[in-house]
């Protein structure tokens, strides 16, 4: 019987150069793997693989040198450690994330919680081509949001609260965008220059800022054969429900319009950026 490689690929088994050997991609969300999972992955790699794993460029783990005949046994063994196969091919891929607000002092959003929610919503959804989400917690952009089909970057929208300000002047210097000026003890923020990095409010000794944590979402990023920086349509999305509506609209647009094996960026270009932006804005304003 012929081996169905695309079905295997869909289930995370990547065909190797070496005949009847597969590199098994595992399901990882937001770059976190538990100790229990790690122990099982180590055991399976020794028992069924070549005794090592490969960390992929998008935060997944692959176990190389899995034999075709062992595939079912490997899946069963991994399940004992709460480990599932991942996916490859034309569908929603691993949702990547930095450590975010829960761990990192620079984080503006809870990236891991969001990665889990997006994973539950979209993981392995069938589409005309691969579709990547990446979530980064702040402007430091450790997770490189704009190289993904949909990139999500955390930010903080700030409003100065005069009643708590001691006029120390720290915020003006903490801002790297030159968006803050202080005149006669009054702090002014130039919203045209502010990039929502949150450095002003994080540095403020009295937390004299009203803050809204939100999302900067970019579309159409690529970093493979072709390189393109994803672009935002809406400067700052304040609530998570709106974020999900916008993500739904992006995936629907791709599903409805893309040709097979066409990346999101090229679908947007072919159909028309204005038409795409209209679809996103409609979902946002719904």
């Amino acid at each position: 019987m012929a081996v169905n490689y695309s079905l295997l690929k869909k289930g995370g088994f990547m065909r190797q150069k070496q005949k009847n050997n597969f590199s098994l991609r595992l399901r990882v969300v937001g770059g976190n793997v538990t100790a229990k999972q790690l122990a099982k992955i180590a055991e399976v790699s020794e028992r069924f693989g070549d005794g090592y794993v490969h960390l992929t460029s998008r935060q997944s783990v692959e176990i190389p040198f899995i034999k075709l005949d062992d595939i079912e046994n490997v899946k069963a063994a991994l399940a004992e450690g709460d480990v599932e196969p991942g996916v490859c091919g034309p569908r929603v891929r691993t949702i990547t994330a930095c450590q975010g607000e829960a761990i990192c002092p620079s984080g503006c959003i809870d990236t891991y919680a969001l990665a889990k929610e997006l994973d539950e919503r979209y993981f392995a959804r069938e589409l005309p081509h691969k579709f990547k989400f990446g979530i980064t917690g702040c402007q430091n952009n450790c997770l490189k949001a704009e190289e993904n089909d949909v990139g999500i970057k955390g930010g903080i929208k700030v409003t100065w609260r005069e009643s708590d300000c001691i006029g120390c002047g720290v915020c003006e210097k903490a801002c790297r965008q030159g968006a803050i000026t202080i005149t006669d003890g009054k702090v002014a923020v130039d919203n045209g220059k502010c990039n929502y990095c949150g450095r002003c409010c994080k540095a403020c000794p009295t937390d004299a800022w009203d803050t809204v944590h939100g999302y900067i979402v970019s579309f159409g990023g690529l970093f493979g054969n072709q390189i393109n920086k994803g672009e935002a349509v809406i400067p700052f999305i304040e609530d998570k429900e709106k974020l999900f509506k916008v993500c739904d609209a992006a995936i629907t647009f791709f599903d409805d319009n893309a040709k097979p094996s066409e990346r999101f960026k090229f679908t947007i270009d072919r159909v028309g950026k204005e038409i795409f932006e209209k679809a996103i804005l409609e979902a946002y304003n719904e």
């Binding site: 002092p105 001691i166 006029g167 120390c168 002047g169 720290v170 210097k173 903490a174 790297r176 450095r199 994080k202 540095a203 403020c204 000794p205």
Partner: protein, 82 residues
């Protein structure tokens, strides 16, 4: 500024990140709770980052003074006795 009685001074303009913060932190450790330290730092990365690190350590920032010569003085009240 005469609003503060500065108890101690430290100059971190002769070191670079991350030693800037370390030197300031060591100077703060020498003080008693409530005492006031003036930290002299360079423009650029030190003045962008050191105040926030001092805040995250739990100390109270009172003022950032611009010396108009490419340096700043951060006036900090020590909080906690570690």
């Amino acid at each position: 500024m005469s609003d503060f009685n500065i108890d101690e001074r430290v100059d971190i303009t002769d070191v670079v990140c991350p030693t800037t913060f370390v030197k300031a932190k060591v100077a703060l450790e020498e003080l008693d709770e409530g005492q006031i330290l003036s930290i002299k730092m360079n423009d650029g990365e030190p003045v962008q980052n050191v105040p926030r690190s001092i805040k995250e350590e739990g100390h109270q920032i009172l003022k950032l003074l611009n010396n108009e010569d490419g340096t700043y003085e951060l006036i900090v009240r020590k909080v906690g006795d570690d």
